[in-house]
């Protein structure tokens, strides 16, 4: 068959696959939304009381609850909430009175950038370290690489963050301590956030690559006289990527939800801190919208990972189709 037709067929397949998966998302999200809605209202604590403070009378509190619709049966509240969502209205924050959508705008953008920066450098550096460690197993590069990896995993993010601030901002004065105004503001947080993931990717790459390097087809490739520069990246590394991509995808999903610790250390306006603040205030509309968004993000990331699998390993594709 002509290669172009093959590519077109491949694209059509991927599109169909994506469409099917997106359709499958709908019932999942519906169930997730019900669970989220119900459980949030089960947490003890009254948002009205938390907002008004101790010197409001109980009549005032109950009147405000009535106005906010918090006295309606939970099912009615859910229905009116879903009605809003379908019309693109996520409601207003109980605490600030701002539309939830507006509160998300900037934070969402910031969190996406931060996640991308962190994951990209972690992925690239992690694979390089992992590959060197595997190729030079138990030699100096391996030891250095794994030492880096162990430090990356064991150093707490907030500590690393504070050390980075102390060194690069206070001592050297090169980078700002916090905020999200320019690309400079993203450097330190993405280092602090990506360090652990880089380490994880390095370790996964190493163990997975070691396994592959011992397999028959690598021996065959080497026996054919192929140079290591070809064998390692083309044959071995690619076949070791499935587990690495899986772990990267999972981490990507987690990071999109924001990192409370790193956001706090760098006064970074992202999603994580918003969630914590909203939970503390029982700001139902904001919590619901955030959790729904996180679910969607996770499902989408999973979808991307699944598609990547099929490129990495034709076997998986055959089975799934």
């Amino acid at each position: 068959m002509h290669p172009k037709i093959l590519i077109l067929k491949g694209v059509a397949f991927v599109l169909r696959y994506i469409f099917k998966r997106v359709l499958e998302m709908i019932p999942t999200l519906l169930i997730v939304s019900i669970i989220i809605f119900y459980f949030i209202h089960l947490i003890p604590g009254d948002p009205v009381r938390l907002v008004v403070g101790p010197d409001a009378t109980s009549e005032e509190v109950s009147m405000i609850r009535e106005e906010m619709g918090l006295n309606d049966p939970i099912f009615i509240q859910y229905m009116s909430y879903m009605q809003g969502i379908l019309q693109g209205d996520l409601g207003k924050s109980l605490k600030t009175g701002l539309p939830v959508m507006e509160m998300f705008e900037n934070r969402f953008k910031n969190s996406i950038y931060l996640t991308l920066f962190s994951i990209i450098w972690a992925f690239i550096i992690g694979i390089i370290i992992g590959t060197f460690s595997a190729v030079f197993k138990n030699k100096l590069p391996d030891n250095i690489g794994m030492l880096t990896a162990v430090s990356g995993i064991s150093v707490p993010g907030f500590w690393l963050g504070l050390i980075l601030i102390q060194f690069f901002s206070v001592q050297l004065g090169w980078l700002p301590t916090g905020g999200a105004d320019s690309w400079k503001h993203f450097i330190l947080p993405s280092i602090a956030l990506g360090a652990g993931i880089m380490a994880m990717i390095a370790r996964f790459t190493r163990s997975s690559l070691l396994e592959t390097l011992g397999s028959d087809f690598i021996r065959t490739a080497r026996a054919k006289g192929l140079r290591e520069m070809i064998v390692i990246p083309k044959h071995a590394l690619r076949n070791s990527m499935v587990s690495v991509v899986t772990i990267t995808g999972l981490q990507f999903g987690f990071l999109l939800g924001g990192s409370v610790v790193v956001e706090t250390v760098f006064s970074f306006p992202g999603m994580g801190r918003l969630l914590i603040d909203s939970i503390a205030f029982r700001d139902y509309p904001v919590i619901q919208a955030l959790l729904l968004l996180f679910s969607i993000q996770f499902i989408v990331v999973n979808l991307i990972v699944d598609i990547l699998y099929s490129f990495l390993n034709p076997k998986i594709r055959t089975i799934s189709s």
Partner: protein, 534 residues
């Protein structure tokens, strides 16, 4: 073939991710709305150009701003920023009421009629004139808009708002309330046009020394100098950017690098390193915060006044201040902190284990008892509770420390149960208010009508005499009589000891040495009205 394409596609995917990442850098920088986008690069210039005069400052605070609607907010950070842009008829300084947009005011003898004579020639930031009609529109919003009930309940007694002439307005109450003036302080004036047209949570249009520029929630809020300010020449700094920086270490680092010119609060553990730096000045003042442990006076053994006094004698206040408050507090020697108007010092419950044991024995608890102490999960609170646990163990009182997440704690205290069913025994908590509002510093937390959930009286303390004195004091404008009545109230409450009286906090704030005129008021509001770089 397919294999090759797969790799290529993967590669393309990655490249595109990289491109997206790179292009976002550009778009963040060139975002036309982002006025502060060049600040990142300016930050470091600040350090180098120490000699040159700056005209912009950055203020870092520990929490996010909630709303810019002055009639619907009570948190100190939102209030502080609003204070730069909006002004009220009156303000308070050192516990005294001082005129601002009103040049003068009168209160009738039974504190039911308040007449304000307004300043002439003042305009709002949008060019609207400030006059009696504008004031009326604001008060009508506060009393009439149902959605503001959370914070406007202090205005429930207002029956009439009359415009006497263009610059005179009279407010009439249904009952006497001499603390109404303090309630009017935070009722800041918004342009009547903005009241009708603008989203007030986001866009405050007032008469203050600074005008609103932009607010990116969670990131920063910027204001600039108002060229047409009626009181020209007070504030000199051109532009102020407020940033919420919750992490203590990061806030301190910002002050050290010059990224921030003013931070509040200064964490006590970083005090030493800041004091070493000659470019930084750390200042303190007494706050209006009273820190105490409420004792449920309806429950055994706290229903016996001797037990309550014994607990007070058993705590070493100086040690408490040093261990828990890092030395930045003063012993609470009345129900009121010394910054609250009409404060009168009482004779402190001096640390005396023997006296405490005697009192416990008299009350029939010579072997002590066990109880629960509640508090939130804040690490300072936990440290405070553990300190009290240790101190009381000396007199045989064994405490179980229960630190609860704020929402849960609030539910257990205000959950709608009657006083008899209340579970709370001891609650480690604090209360803060306006220096000029003596009533608010006592009645909502110790008044007989303020049992949870109607108020914060978690001690379930009810003393008819105290209630009567509080009522009388609030109904008179006679300063002498007020002082006398509040004196009796303080004496009685200190004697009855519904709390373990611990300490009153100090505010700790830091500034770059060349910044002057910015300070923190006793009730924790950052004041920028005289900001100037020297």
């Amino acid at each position: 073939m397919i294999k090759g394409n797969g790799i290529k596609l993967l590669f393309v995917l990655f490249l595109s991710m990289l491109i997206v990442a790179c292009s976002t850098e550009g778009s963040v920088e060139s975002d036309p709305e982002d006025n502060s986008s060049d600040k990142g690069s300016n930050d470091n210039v600040v350090i180098e150009d120490e000699g040159n005069k700056r005209d912009e400052i950055v203020i870092a605070v520990n929490e996010n701003f909630i709303t810019m609607d002055p009639h619907n907010s009570g948190d100190r950070n939102s209030n502080a920023v609003q204070g730069a842009m909006l002004e009220g008829l009156i303000d308070e300084r050192d516990g005294e009421i001082v005129p601002v947009l009103a040049e003068d005011f009168e209160v009738n003898d039974d504190a039911t009629e308040f007449t304000f004579y307004l300043r002439e020639g003042v305009v709002f930031h949008d060019g609207q004139p400030f006059n009696a009609e504008a004031v009326k529109a604001n008060f009508e919003r506060i009393t009439g808009d149902q959605s503001l009930r959370l914070y406007s309940r202090g205005f429930n007694d207002i029956t009439d708002i009359d415009v006497i002439d263009e610059y005179t307005i009279k407010i009439t109450l249904s009952q006497s309330n001499s603390s109404m003036l303090t309630k009017i302080v935070p009722a800041r004036m918004i342009s009547p046009k903005a009241l009708k047209e603008e989203d007030l949570t986001r866009n405050p249009v007032g008469t203050g020394p600074y005008k609103f520029v932009e607010w990116v929630p969670g990131d920063h809020l910027t204001v600039e100098l108002n060229e047409n300010y009626w009181n020209q020449g007070q504030a000199k700094v051109q532009k102020i950017t407020y940033r919420p920086v919750p992490e203590n270490g990061a806030r301190v680092a910002m002050l050290k690098t010059g990224e921030a010119d003013f931070i509040f609060p200064v964490p006590t553990q970083n005090l030493a390193e800041l004091e070493e730096d000659e470019n930084i000045i750390v200042e303190t003042n007494q706050s209006t915060i009273a820190r105490y442990v409420s004792l449920n006076t309806m429950k055994e053994p706290f229903n016996d006044v001797r037990v309550r006094q014994a607990l007070n004698y058993a705590i070493d206040k100086d040690a408490f201040i040093n261990v828990v408050m890092a030395g930045f507090a003063t012993p609470l020697d009345s129900v009121l902190p010394s910054t609250i108007f009409n404060y009168q010092q009482q004779e402190l419950y001096q640390y005396n284990i023997e006296r405490a044991k005697e009192l416990l024995a008299e009350a029939g608890y010579e072997n002590g008892f066990t109880a629960e102490i509640w508090g939130n999960t804040n690490s300072d609170t936990v440290r405070g509770m553990q300190f009290i646990q240790q101190q009381l163990s000396q007199i045989g009182v064994e405490l179980e420390v229960l630190s609860m997440e704020e929402g849960t704690l609030s539910e257990r205290i205000y959950g709608g149960h009657g006083p008899e069913e209340a579970e709370v025994e001891m609650w480690y908590v604090s209360w803060g208010g306006f220096p000029s509002d003596t009533d608010h510093a006592i009645r909502p937390i110790l008044g007989g009508n303020s049992f949870p959930p109607a108020g914060g009286n978690s001690a379930y303390f009810s003393n008819p005499e105290v209630d009567q004195w509080l009522f009388e004091a609030n109904a008179t404008v006679d300063a002498e009589l007020k002082r006398e009545l509040y004196g009796k109230v303080q004496q009685k409450i200190y004697e009855e000891a519904p709390w373990i009286f611990l300490a009153s906090d100090e505010n700790l704030f830091g500034r770059r040495a060349d910044l002057e005129g910015v300070y923190v008021t006793p009730n924790g509001r950052i004041h920028v009205g005289y900001a100037e770089i020297k």
